[in-house]
């Protein structure tokens, strides 16, 4: 069982997955400087679980084995579990200021658990028992899973089976006695280069003609035929330097996403949990999306806490913290952060038990929460830029500060209030720059689904007809009008 940070890193070292960074094969993903910040973030989920002051959120009791397990491998057994998930995400974000990646696999496990139960009831298949056996192993080993939902999708106006290149959606290319063979790809895969396995899921609701695309399966990432290509992020190579200019030197900016390619990858039957049951793809996707959208007020709420703290420090260091407009902006930032956290807590508190026994958040409220993330986090970042000032875009390099020739000038002209060094001020300004721009913001927009995918849910679940009836009743308008 992986318990410590060191055991986790060593397990990634042993994996030998086929990983690429900037066109070159990476021999040891655990030691590549571009991956280390992301590894450090994920490692926090292991480290914190061992600390008594955090274990109540970071661990849970397995309903399968009765043993203490990482909450990231747990199936929610109550509303309290749903709430603790959100609290845990906010807590870990306080330690990393960044995505720590394990929630995607966590949500994939829960969505699969609920859905395999439902498939078996209709088709008398054996996916649920098979999945529970797999889940026991995940819990016992405490491995890190990629939640493999998003396919590249190619021409979005066409269904999977209508694509010119059929690999643009991950699909079964061969059915065999001992398993299936898949080809295709999964895009934007969070934490992929430092995970052990991927749980692939159908990316959207499938029709009968898309049977080959309706597959849930668990695949070790070092399986023959899998290639991972690490994605580029804003200013990511500053991380190679370490130091002030990297902003958050120890941890990543976002999750460390990768494109994962499957070229004729064999999967044995004991790792397959849906195979052609297209009528369950819609509910599976909705469940995964809801479970994942539930998270964002937790993790982004926690990340926002850091941005707010950094903004207050930046203004303190430059002598503006006492200004009423600055205080007002910090208050507004707190309002926005607590609002998204409230959304995540609300959808959890309104959660309910599914037929499988697993608990599930309120779908509409979870979507509403994520929708607010696509707005509130941008507004928090905008206010951070406002409070911190234009220096976040024009500040000299750390190398300038340390230069024998110009260092004295940087030291002199980066000064703020007396008693705070220029270096201290530069550190907090870089932290704000790192956490509020580029990839960090785009993740809030598109992670767990783009805003339009949440708006669709209002149309479906917003009960507009009932709202019209309520208005008619108060206005004394007859029902028929």
């Amino acid at each position: 069982m992986i318990k410590t940070k060191e055991e986790y890193i060593n397990s990634i070292k042993q994996l030998k997955a086929n990983v690429y960074y900037r066109g070159k094969r990476v021999e040891d993903a655990s030691a590549h400087p571009a991956f280390i910040p992301h590894i450090n973030s994920a490692a926090k989920t292991y480290e914190m679980a061992l600390r008594p002051e955090f274990e109540d959120l970071l661990t849970a009791t397995s309903h399968l084995s009765g043993k203490k397990i990482s909450r990231f491998t747990h199936i929610h057994q109550s509303v309290d579990d749903l709430i603790k998930k959100v609290q845990m995400l906010r807590l870990i974000a306080h330690e990393t200021g960044s995505c720590f990646q394990r929630c995607v696999g966590f949500d994939a496990l829960n969505a699969t658990y609920m859905t395999t139960y439902d498939i078996d009831r209709k088709y008398e298949t054996n996916y649920f028992e098979r999945f529970k056996e797999y889940l026991k192993q995940v819990q016992e080993k405490n491995i890190m899973l990629v939640g493999g939902m998003t396919d590249p999708k190619g021409d979005r106006s066409k269904r999977p089976s209508q694509q010119v290149d059929r690999d643009l959606f991950t699909r079964i290319v061969e059915r065999r006695e001992d398993g299936v063979v898949v080809s295709g790809a999964k895009a934007h895969q969070t934490g992929a280069v430092n995970s052990h396995e991927i749980l692939i899921l159908p990316t959207q609701s499938m029709g009968e003609e898309d049977k080959d695309y309706a597959i849930i399966a668990a695949i070790p990432l070092d399986t023959k035929g899998i290639t991972l290509i690490f994605g580029r992020q804003t200013n990511e190579e500053r991380k190679l330097e370490g130091g002030i200019d990297s902003g958050n030197p120890e941890f990543g900016m976002v999750g460390g996403e990768a494109l994962i390619i499957f070229e004729n990858v064999f999967i044995p039957w004991d790792r397959i949990f849906m195979c052609g049951e297209t009528d369950f793809t819609g509910i599976l996707v909705e469940r995964f999306a809801t479970l994942h959208r539930q998270n964002y007020g937790g993790c982004k709420g926690g990340v926002s806490d850091i941005i707010i703290g950094a903004s207050a420090l930046a203004s303190q260091y430059q002598g503006t913290l006492g200004a009423s407009h600055v205080k007002d902006k910090l208050i507004e930032m707190m309002h926005l952060a607590e609002s998204v956290f409230a959304g995540s807590i609300a959808c959890s508190a309104m959660g309910s038990k599914t037929a499988s026994g697993a608990f599930y958040p309120d779908t509409l409220l979870a979507n509403c929460t994520k929708h607010n993330i696509t707005r509130n986090i941008y507004e928090i970042a905008r206010l951070a830029h406002d409070v911190a000032g234009g220096i976040i875009a024009t500040m000299p390099f750390e190398d300038d500060l340390k230069s024998p020739e110009v260092g004295k000038h940087v030291e002199k002209y980066m000064a703020g209030v007396d008693g705070v060094s220029s270096e201290t001020r530069m550190k907090i300004i870089r932290l704000i720059e790192t956490m509020t721009g580029g990839t960090a913001l785009a993740e809030s927009m598109h992670g767990a689904g783009s805003p339009q995918s949440q708006r669709v849910m209002y149309q479906r679940l917003g009960k507009l007809g009932e709202k019209m009836k309520l208005a008619k009743k108060l206005a004394k308008i007859p029902e028929k009008d």
Partner: protein, 127 residues
């Protein structure tokens, strides 16, 4: 006369807990034997103070008279629950599930010696 501690403050005969140097002394000087106390933190999603540091101050105030154990390691005289805020999630969890004598803190405002004295007083509980 023993009165129960209220969650909102101390409601007690001021002389009752005169076990050590003085009710508000800096350390605990009990003649009582060492007791086992289970320590349980809430998860700490957004704590309003440094929970670990406050527990260390309580341990220091106990001056070696408490053996700290986990709740998985009974028996113990009481459970000290360190909640990060006034929502006190862990206090509610434990109180509903167990018959333990629970002493619960929700902030770091009380003098640590008062918490120690509370842990030693078998008639006091926050559950």
């Amino acid at each position: 006369v023993c009165r129960r501690w209220s969650r909102n403050g101390l409601v007690m005969d001021p002389g009752y807990l005169n076990l050590g140097k003085g009710r508000m002394g800096n350390s605990f000087n009990s003649a009582h034997a060492k007791i086992r106390v289970a320590l349980k933190y809430c998860g700490g999603c957004d704590p309003a103070y440094d929970r670990v540091s406050y527990q260390e101050r309580i341990a220091a105030a106990a001056a070696g008279h408490i053996e700290w154990v986990s709740i998985e390691n009974p028996p113990f005289e009481a459970v000290l629950v360190i909640n990060g805020c006034h929502r006190a999630c862990k206090e509610k969890d434990l109180a509903s599930e167990h018959q333990w004598r629970i002493i619960s803190v929700r902030d770091d405002l009380a003098d640590p010696i008062l918490i120690v004295k509370k842990l030693f007083n078998r008639e006091v509980s926050d559950d």
